[in-house]
Symmetry: C2
Subunit: 308 residues, 2 copies
Amino acid sequence: MLKVPDHQVAGHRQARDGKPSPLIDDAGRFYKPLQDDDRGSKEVAFYSSFSSNTRVPDHVRRLFPVFHGTQLIEASDGSGLRPHLVLEDVVSSRSHPSVMDIKIGSRTWYPEASEDYIQRCFKKDRETSSLSLGFRISGLQIYGNEESRLWKPENKLVQNLSAADVKVVLKKFVSSNFPDDPNSDPDCSFAASVYGGSTGILAQLLELKAWFEDQTMYHLNSCSVLMVYEKEKVLKGERSDAEVKLIDFAHVTEGKGIIDHNFLGGLCSVIKFISEILTSPDECTTKVCLQDSDKNTNDSENCTTEGM
Amino acid sequence: MLKVPDHQVAGHRQARDGKPSPLIDDAGRFYKPLQDDDRGSKEVAFYSSFSSNTRVPDHVRRLFPVFHGTQLIEASDGSGLRPHLVLEDVVSSRSHPSVMDIKIGSRTWYPEASEDYIQRCFKKDRETSSLSLGFRISGLQIYGNEESRLWKPENKLVQNLSAADVKVVLKKFVSSNFPDDPNSDPDCSFAASVYGGSTGILAQLLELKAWFEDQTMYHLNSCSVLMVYEKEKVLKGERSDAEVKLIDFAHVTEGKGIIDHNFLGGLCSVIKFISEILTSPDECTTKVCLQDSDKNTNDSENCTTEGM
């Protein structure tokens, strides 16, 4: 029995513009319809290569959804049989997952793409936080402590956040107070168990980072990091099931002996934000000023370094 | 007594288009004429801020030229008194330095720049290796073992190298055989003493990397890493004086709480190339293929992972 999943947070994973949505079964599999243009076949090519690539270490492989091949099934919109990627269902099998989809990289285009695609991405990267932060939040949902309450802001509202606002959203993600309450600051009470610890999100992101410093096989253009956990488990004092998974590989290109410096830089930026929440939840931003000056070092008193 | 230095390898440090060249004295100082537009005052602002910034650790500070303020001196082209940055002379005081100037970052522009500047940089980043490698070689000179022989290719010839060619140039930089000899492969005989070791270039780049993973004060747009050493010292069995210095800060912007993910990504790419030369000088590139395919995992035999 296939059904449309409940917990899709990013636009490209939802049904729209007459395109069928993904489906899930009750055995933990996620069926993603192949996109009509070459993106579908590119994503299959990536999963085929990656799943059979013996150079990918196990601790990295588990950060990617398991690939079960492709399958012809009835599309969710009734348009008939259609090939679907069959993947591990990362999110939908959980009952009340808090989910964040972060598209990594200050640049979502790549040299091999068409000029039209490059220009569209170039524009969007500048209009969103991708250029400044090295990533953009593509979508999110956060459950309150009562499972009935869900905060799921419009994707457009979270794509272009400032550094300060991204930090607030990343705090809300791990806080016990309800995220859309404007009168209470996020309390970060789940930060240590979700972001921290030897199996937490930061540890998983650091494993990913170490791999990206070394691997020159794949460039994961326009790919997302999904962060998932369930509040009720943390509230019950159970071991956090916080998980990082990479998704969306329709624009992967061959690395050709070069590291994916664009992905790595953006990933390090996410890591820095999360590290700061863990180490100094009360914020301490170092400010410098770079005033125009053609005088000598004595001007340096105009430029201060301060904790806030 | 001021004179024009001998060892300028990158275009923007040479006299041209009627602009005066830098000068050096015999006390180890380098005088860089302030550029007329706001680049001159921006570079002074950066040096003023950086030199008085107590949050910069000493092991990072030594990777930047010492700043001695600004001074009005007679320009090298006889055009009269002109303000100059007074800096530590990193290169010219050495007798036969091999030098490489690597402009770091896949993107040399930044959001605060003018649209015209952005478009010019965007075009140049795509035309050079900046986009693909995350850096471009802006200039280099390599001495042969006989001090009279110097290889100094045109800057245009080294700005757009492939991954394979960059690796060859980085090998030539630390080889005893003369670099413009097409009949001999670079022997990498100085690699261990120049790139390797606890005080070598790789160790210095790794210190820089650790700082860039953390610091959110400065974004070093369009800045270069200079690598310098003298072959004769290594040949004599003396301790390698290999040195890394960052230069060219006319486009630095405030970090505003965000790491410089563009610089960091490019730096990691340089580090990967140099690490590979140290660990596997005989090359071993992992290749993958990403063929279009809309079939299932059984196609994975088309995609091989192989050592070459």
